[in-house]
Symmetry: C2
DNA sequence: ATAGAATCCGGACCCTAGGTCCGCTTAGAC
DNA sequence: GTCTAAGCGGACCTAGGGTCCGGATTCTAT
């Protein structure tokens, strides 16, 4: 667990340099997998030992980058104004949250891709997925008549998977605004199931 | 492209042996990634050269296994009786198709996992995904009032992603029947948007 | 200021796993 | 039987993630 902060200023400077270099590399290069750790170290003007001591491993570096980029959104969701903040009525907040996630992944395609496929273990063991899931689920549960909130949350989040977004934006050339509209439409449809009762799956 | 059939019987025998060995290994071992190509070759009593000549690369082997397992379902979907076959009314066929996919992934967890994450490129470039997508989409388009069929299809299929299924079955310990019910419920909710007009995203 | 300790630096090195190569073997045709 | 094209298999190559350790740097106490 090499994640604790260091106080030495060269360590801090190097950490920043690595973050910046990795950031640049991931946005520049086509595919995440041809950004090697050696590349990152070289671009940051730092040795591999330094890189690995600071972040543990590849996944650690990705996570650090991801969290940093995600911070503003986390703020907006937790303590911000509507439509993202807690004061928003659930039926409006769900599409807004999904939209925020989608936009984030559109703006950080390579990075999100690298983190989600990243190998090792599924994205479902990542902490940040867990956070989104429990938040979204809590919001869903405030909507009356909505069942299977756990599964529904997973299914909604699955529609924003990085590789799907990448495919839609890259291969199918779907413009950003259209994709956002489609996702919002989809989410709304899922929520708008007032009249449907009795379909509930039982325990 | 080393995919063409050989007529020599030793080649055929070896191909079968590899397929069988790989199948056994993938179901036995915990995680797909600790089944190495060398393992497979050894278990099949065959050299690595043979293995790679027969299947090209790791993805090729996975694909071959996957297609073989998928064959019966493909049959049932293309020319079988309802609820999977073409004679089924669209509103019933969509959940049935998704259910078939879900069951398949539940029955072939490791394999589906290995193929979908498999690294290299996203599952969205795989031929079999393309097949499912166009089929499902065609069915969706027969439902009046349903818009964004392309995106909706992607979103529905995303709910059956191998790693999500694995997570639900493995970590969350959701029983098979419950998961099937939840997916069916979800699909039905998505389709049951008759009253909703005007939400359509415009070109 | 300076010595000493703790920490950090960095690149040579290791290991694993996918993939290739090539001399030897074998199936099948004549 | 023999000739040949195809197949065989394991030694070998390579790339990239991760480790190691001698030397440099920073912080602290005096």
């Amino acid at each position: 667990m090499p994640e604790r902060q260091s106080s030495r200023k060269d360590a801090i400077r190097n950490r920043e340099a690595v973050l910046a270099a990795a950031d640049a590399l991931f946005t520049r290069r086509e595919s995440p997998e041809d950004v090697t750790m050696t590349d990152v170290a070289a671009a940051a003007g730092v040795g591999k030992g330094t890189l690995f001591r600071a972040f543990g491993n590849r996944a650690g570096l990705l996570r650090a980058l991801y969290e940093a980029r995600l911070e503003p959104i986390r703020q907006a969701v937790e303590t911000g104004p509507p439509p993202l903040g807690p004061a928003t009525p659930p039926r409006d907040r769900v599409p807004a949250l999904l939209d925020a996630i989608l936009c984030f992944k559109l703006d950080n395609r390579r990075l999100a891709l690298a983190l989600e496929e990243g190998g090792s273990s599924s994205p479902y063991q990542a902490e940040h997925y867990e956070r989104w899931h429990s938040l979204l689920r809590a919001v869903l549960e405030q909507i009356p008549g909505l069942t299977d909130s756990d599964f529904t949350t997973h299914a909604l989040l699955a529609a924003t998977r990085a590789d799907l977004v990448e495919h839609l934006a890259g291969e199918e050339r779907i413009p950003r605004e259209k994709m956002r509209a489609q996702l919002a439409n989809f989410a709304t449809r899922v929520l708008a199931s007032g009249p449907l009762q009795g379909l509930t799956s039982e325990e």
